[in-house]
């Protein structure tokens, strides 16, 4: 977990972090839902007026989210708030009824899920979803499917094994034989093989033992340090907000609070609702 990866580390912009520290004040309730945006800083991912639903039931009621290059942003909320739905929207698995998804200045609305991966939006889905009947190594290589003609893939695989030594040890085993924590590492390694410009993590701590959760969040912190832009969705709000530059609180399809991770952690109403008082 200590070795660094060959992923190109974009230097963290000092200007950016300053811009977000003076964002929302503790306890502030967002009216428009938009996070604090610095002038002249274009978001890497810009979601505007996102509406979607399942059948007649609307799951997201027109929300706005912006994620800037190099940022780690957390989206917290209860089960069923629409967190995973939002990630599915970003990845192109869930069709929109209204709103726009803009990535790096390009409108993605008509882009299919696979095209979005080629553009650098890579998701670690809820519940890991590793390919259980394929070997660990096959899983990692499938992560690099979008760059299968790239000569650097073999080196990246080695780098991934240095980062996750346990995966190297088990690389011939079927992914279904790994423990939950190992599967989560595999799912993250698989996503990193695609060289994400934006890494989406859906409930990385779900169903894992506390010690393993610590380990997973340590890995996320490390990825953050390497400069990868991360959008993490969590029910485990305290862990997620602690590592995030900024956070959003989602409640039944609406964003009800936003601010710096620290600010949200200290927010009384957020504490009461999501951090166990």
């Amino acid at each position: 977990m200590n070795a660094t990866l060959s992923t190109p580390a974009a230097p963290r912009s000092e200007q950016r972090s300053r811009a977000f520290d003076d964002g929302a004040t503790p306890g502030e309730r967002a009216d428009g839902g938009a996070g604090p945006i610095a002038e002249g800083d274009t978001p890497l991912l810009d979601l505007k007026g996102i509406r979607t639903g399942y059948g007649r039931i609307e799951a997201l009621h027109g929300l706005d989210v912006a994620i800037h290059p190099g940022e780690t942003v957390a989206l917290v909320g209860a089960n069923g708030a629409g967190k995973s739905t939002l990630l599915r929207v970003i990845s192109g698995l869930q069709p929109l009824t209204a709103g726009t998804v803009t990535f790096d200045g390009e409108d993605l609305n008509r882009r299919k899920a696979a095209d979005r991966v080629h553009r650098g939006i890579v998701q670690v889905p809820e519940g890991r979803q590793v390919f259980a009947g394929l070997s660990v190594e096959d899983n990692l290589m499938l992560g690099a499917f979008s760059r299968r003609r790239d000569k650097g893939v073999a080196d990246d695989l080695e780098a991934m094994y240095r980062r996750f030594p346990i995966l190297k040890e088990k690389r011939r085993l079927h992914a279904g034989n790994l423990s939950g924590g190992q599967q989560q590492m595999l799912a993250m390694g698989r996503a990193l093989m695609a060289k994400p410009r934006l890494l989406l993590l859906d409930e990385p701590s779900m169903g894992l033992a506390p010690l393993i959760i610590e380990e997973i969040f340590a890995i996320i912190t490390e990825l953050k340090r390497e400069g990868i832009t991360i959008f993490v969705v969590e029910q485990n709000a305290s862990e997620a907000l602690a590592i995030a530059d900024r956070g959003y609180v989602l409640e039944t399809g609406d964003i009800v609070a936003t601010g710096s991770g620290e600010a949200l952690l200290n927010d009384e109403s957020v504490k009461a609702a999501y951090l166990g008082g």
Partner: protein, 291 residues
């Protein structure tokens, strides 16, 4: 006595190799989409009849065969593009009914344009048979076994050695997760239809010198191939091959030792027994593995 047994065994294995190829076609599409493609038998028909028609038009057999197989491959891709893909969110049962419709349509086209007669393809080798240990072996049987072995090996290598093969496996295991890897799952499904059409057509061509070919051979061969796939446990390639061979042997022994009148009933008796006692087939997955 022994030579008789040897004879039946050999023709059983030959027949079984054909069923195995048909079953592999079913398995491939079933894995990629959970659809049982009842038009699979028509690919055999297109392979066999296509070759006959092209040869009648003066194309030499060595070109006619690959052309007919390619024609079937295109038919498979079109089947996906025009019939399966447009019904994207339909449930599996609807898609299966679509494939039944497509098979009737293809059979009808063949009947109208290629006629209702039975045709024979010439043997692939000049010598028709050789005798071995008191039994007579058709040289065409050797061709069938050889070509089936090559196709099975090629398919095995495709799944274990190529990125596209693994992408197909990944799509069959979890379509959404495969999309998140940047895999175009719709293109993968189209490829699965193309490949299984090619395998089916190849089976249809190599069997044609022995069984004759006509516009309607797809019905029985398709059904038997499906039964072979079900015996093996739908979704398992090894199971499909095993199921095909078992079915071929059972048919040959019944025809040889009991009566050839009952030969076509054998697969249906076997499928009833399998459905009663081993509903997941011989090698089918019992349950989803999840930690």
């Amino acid at each position: 006595m022994f030579s008789e047994f040897f004879q039946f065994t050999f023709s059983g294995i030959t027949l079984g190799a054909i069923y195995a190829l048909v079953a592999l076609g079913f398995t491939l599409i079933y894995n990629a989409s959970h659809v049982i493609n009842f038009a699979q038998g028509e690919f055999l028909m297109i392979g066999g009849m296509g070759t006959v028609v092209l040869m009648d038009a003066g194309v030499p057999i060595y070109f006619a065969i690959p052309l007919a197989i390619a024609m079937a491959g295109v038919a498979g891709i079109l089947l996906h593009r025009l019939a399966i893909a447009p019904a994207k969110n339909a449930d599996v049962v609807t898609l299966i009914i679509i494939t039944i419709g497509a098979s009737i349509f293809l059979r009808g086209l063949a009947q109208v344009f290629w006629g209702k007669e039975y045709h024979a393809l010439p043997n692939f080798s000049a010598t028709e048979s050789i005798s071995l240990g008191g039994a007579t072996l058709l040289t065409q049987s050797l061709w069938i076994l050889g070509i089936a072995a090559v196709l099975v090996t090629a398919l095995g290598l495709f799944f274990t050695r190529t990125a596209l093969g693994k992408a197909l496996l990944a799509t069959s295991m979890n379509k959404d997760a495969a999309s998140l890897m940047g895999i175009k799952t719709s293109a993968i499904l189209m490829m699965a239809f193309g490949i299984s059409a090619v395998i089916g057509a190849a089976a249809g061509v190599i069997v044609a010198p022995i069984t004759l070919t006509s516009y309607d051979i797809g019905i029985m061969l398709g059904l038997k191939g499906f039964i072979a796939a079900a015996i093996g446990g739908l979704g398992s390639s090894t199971g499909a091959i095993l199921g095909g061979l078992l079915l071929g042997l059972a048919e040959a022994y019944t025809a040889g030792y009991i009566s050839s009148d009952y030969k076509d009933a054998v697969p249906f008796v076997i499928i009833l027994a399998i459905l009663f006692f081993l509903p997941n087939g011989l090698l089918g997955s019992r349950a989803v593995e999840r930690v």
